[in-house]
């Protein structure tokens, strides 16, 4: 679960990592070539006048245009009254920045300066696997640096198609460019899982965004928040529809055959409890989840989807005793996000008994809506088989920041995919 590690490393500027800059001839010449196009991007809190978040950025497309990560400047987009943005050059020059547009799905943001900043870097296609890449930025506010690493290609099993960069990115480098041998941008630094496992946003998404902005002359977006909400909502609908149309793998759990992985972005793991000696309850579980976490702010990431099947078997317990244990299990395994009342409503739930493949399940659907992102909800589904005296199945399904109607439709297809095998 490298994503969980990612979340902790995103932009937290308090861990001091030791990092090394490989002394290579190419990297030193490359640094000199692009130095004037690399900037530190800073978000300033008006209340104190000091920087609250730092990241990196680079000149692209036009001399006054900077590209960086959305997560670097998200506190500004979430509260433009309280924050502003500026840049710091390698020579110590600073100046204000304005936001042009963002792509939250791929964690990109385009900023504009009042004066030309430097020569725009060229972009290029991703080189072959194994090629040397050079990543630039200002790690931990220590000074502009260049890091050498290896391209390990686009991630196949994730929805954001990030590039796996085997090099050491650190917080503060987010938004900086990753260059090929010729000094052309092939990706944008975005995250690290530590130990030389880092991630870059593929250049194609930056190109798409820049193309769109070029058409309107890099005029700042008028309804930025509305745009972000639409991007998220459309993406959720499109993703859920795609999943519904796929052929799904099937897995067997206890006496049920149930839907397994729905496509390459969802991977399934065995999550059975290790049986303790003398345990009277056999527990076998499979968990499927995607790796998608769309960054909205420091405390809120959406896109996660997870479903879990847990099979319970009584080892010689009388039914009331088995059901006592079964009921304990039914109380756990619920949604765990850091969303609070500023972000979401309370959950509203409905419980019914549902006939699924000839077995009765006590099924509950819960929904809570995002207050600032119209159309997005957290959906929580849980169901427990109730008829059998000595076996049980608990099905949990949750989606974070998703379209409710499409989620329920996906649920409908999943439930119809259950098959009881007596």
């Amino acid at each position: 679960m490298y994503r969980q590690c990612l979340a902790t490393v995103w932009l937290v500027c308090c861990l001091l990592y030791s990092f090394s800059v490989h002394a290579e001839t190419r990297s030193s010449s490359l640094y000199n070539e692009v130095e004037k196009s690399i900037y530190q991007v800073r978000v300033i809190n008006h209340k104190t006048g000091n920087k609250s978040v730092i990241g990196s950025g680079f000149v692209v497309a036009r001399p006054d245009i900077l590209a960086t990560n959305y997560h670097v400047i998200s506190s500004y987009t979430n509260d433009p009254e309280a924050f502003s943005m500026n840049y710091l050059s390698t020579t110590g020059d600073t100046g204000p920045l304005r936001l042009v547009d963002v792509d939250v799905l791929h964690d990109l943001a385009i900023l504009k300066a009042d004066t030309p900043l430097g020569k725009p870097l060229k972009t290029s296609a991703i080189p072959e696997k194994g090629a040397t890449l050079y990543s630039l930025g200002n790690p931990l506010d220590l000074g502009f640096s260049i890091v050498t690493g290896t391209n390990n290609g686009m991630l196949q099993n994730s929805e954001d198609n990030n590039i796996l960069f085997s090099g050491n990115l650190n917080s503060g480098m987010s938004g900086g460019p990753a260059l090929n041998e010729s000094g052309e941008v092939i990706g944008v630094n975005v995250a690290t899982a530590g130990n030389d496992v880092s991630f870059l946003v593929s250049i194609q998404y930056l190109n798409i965004l820049l193309e769109r902005l070029r058409l309107r002359g890099f005029r700042p977006a008028e309804d930025l928040h509305g745009n972000i909400t639409r991007q998220l909502h459309d993406n959720s609908i499109e993703r859920l529809k795609r999943l519904q149309d796929n052929d799904w793998k099937r897995v067997q759990i206890g006496q049920f055959e149930v839907p397994g992985s729905m496509d390459r972005t969802i991977s399934c793991w065995d999550s059975s409890d290790e049986a303790r000696g003398g345990s009277l309850l056999g527990i076998y579980a499979a968990t499927c989840s995607n790796e998608l976490r769309i960054f909205l702010d420091e405390k809120l990431s959406i896109g996660e989807m997870r479903y879990q099947y847990t099979w319970y078997e009584s080892e010689g317990m009388i039914p009331p005793r088995f059901y006592r244990q079964y009921e304990y299990q039914n109380a756990s395994g619920l949604i765990n996000t850091t969303a609070d009342k500023k972000n979401v409503t309370r959950f509203e739930c409905r419980t019914r008994f549902v006939d699924i493949s000839g077995r009765d399940f006590k099924m509950t659907v819960c929904r809570r809506d995002y207050l600032r992102y119209q159309g997005l909800s957290d959906v929580l589904v849980t169901g427990a088989m109730v008829e059998e005296p000595k076996v049980g199945l608990i099905f949990d399904f949750y989606l974070v920041g998703t379209d409710f109607d499409q989620s329920v439709r996906l649920l409908q297809r999943m439930l119809k995919g259950f098959k009881w095998m007596p």
Binding site: G277, C349, V354, L411
Partner: protein, 329 residues
């Protein structure tokens, strides 16, 4: 009926004193020259004088100006004379803090002196009931231990788990019996055991009923309601029954004592309830719905199809933010 006499009853703890009133006037007080002497510090040396007018009609003369007198809850001024008829109901007098009654010797006294073992009171009376309640309580906790254990265990494990409950039962019984002994001068171990067993098994039984109803109705309110009953009513009600039976208290005074003894627990439960209400209004990220499961699977809700379930969810779970916006406009 000439044989019927007027009596004066002086209430003392556990054993009342009775004085036949034959020669009038009768003077009552703490001084040794009175007809009836009450050695109570709140009674004046010469407190009250009673004169017979005719038959059962009496005149009460309040002599005390210190701690006062009351007749049938009415306060008497110093030197006030009041007339009163002693009928089927006794006349209640209060001299200082001391309760005194004027009554007829033909008054029905069965209500206060006979142990009433009929109906529900039987559980306190018969030793067989007390023992059965004790055994039932212990069996219930034994079964509960058995249900809760997830690992295979020997019978000694379950019996070992029962010991704290047994200890609690015995300790509670002794405390109750001890208090009763102090006030009634009798050992009432059987009723005390019944009372202790009821205190222990009551919450458990209510919990089981609540769980059954929760599943039956697919709702959380039955158990919540029964827990309110358990927290606020069980203790006073059981205490009331016990005090009525063992201490032969009048209904109102039994209620008063039961409430008095329950107060610390009631106040504790009230503060707990307030905390819960306060927490309930706080934001929670947790979904709240009925999670009960039951091997009996007795429920009122029928099973519906997947399609109906999905339709229901889509229709009933409408966008919450939209509604909130509409409400504020």
């Amino acid at each position: 009926m000439d044989a019927v006499k007027l009596m004066l009853e002086v209430k003392t703890r556990s054993l009342n004193h009775y004085y036949p009133l034959e020669r009038f006037p009768v003077r009552i007080g703490r001084a040794l020259d009175n007809d009836i002497i009450l050695s109570d510090n709140t009674v004046s040396p010469h407190h009250l004088e009673i004169e017979r007018l005719d038959g059962f009609r009496l005149q009460v003369h309040n002599l005390s100006g210190e701690n006062g007198s009351r007749m049938n809850r009415r306060s008497l001024r110093q030197h006030e004379m009041a007339e009163v008829q002693v009928g089927a109901d006794p006349v209640n007098l209060r001299l200082g803090n001391r309760q005194v009654r004027l009554l007829r010797s033909d008054m029905d006294v069965s209500r206060t002196s006979v142990r009433n073992c009929s109906g529900l009171y039987a559980v306190f009376c018969h030793p067989a009931w007390s023992l059965s309640l004790m055994v039932l309580t212990l069996l219930a906790f034994l079964f509960e231990n058995y249900l809760q254990a997830r690992l295979a265990k020997d019978i000694t494990f379950y019996l070992g788990g029962l010991m704290p409950y047994l200890l609690g039962l015995v300790a509670l019984t002794l405390v109750i019996a001890g208090i009763s002994r102090l006030s009634t001068q009798r050992w009432e171990v059987g009723p005390a055991l019944s009372l202790a067993a009821l205190f222990m098994i009551g919450p458990h039984v209510l919990g089981e009923i609540g769980h059954f109803l929760n599943y039956l109705l697919t709702a959380d309110w039955p158990l919540e309601g029964l827990m309110l009953v358990n927290n606020f009513l069980l203790l006073p009600v059981v205490l009331y029954g016990y005090i009525r039976l063992i201490h032969h208290a009048e209904p109102w005074s039994a209620l008063g004592i039961a409430l008095l003894f329950s107060t610390p627990m009631l106040v504790y439960q009230m503060s707990d309830l307030m905390d819960q209400i306060a927490l309930g209004t706080e934001f929670t990220g947790e979904a709240e719905f009925n999670r009960t499961l039951s091997s009996l699977d007795i429920r009122l809700q029928p099973s519906i199809s997947i399609d109906s379930f999905v339709t229901m969810a889509t229709e009933e779970l409408e966008p919450l933010t939209g509604k909130a916006d509409a409400g504020s406009e």
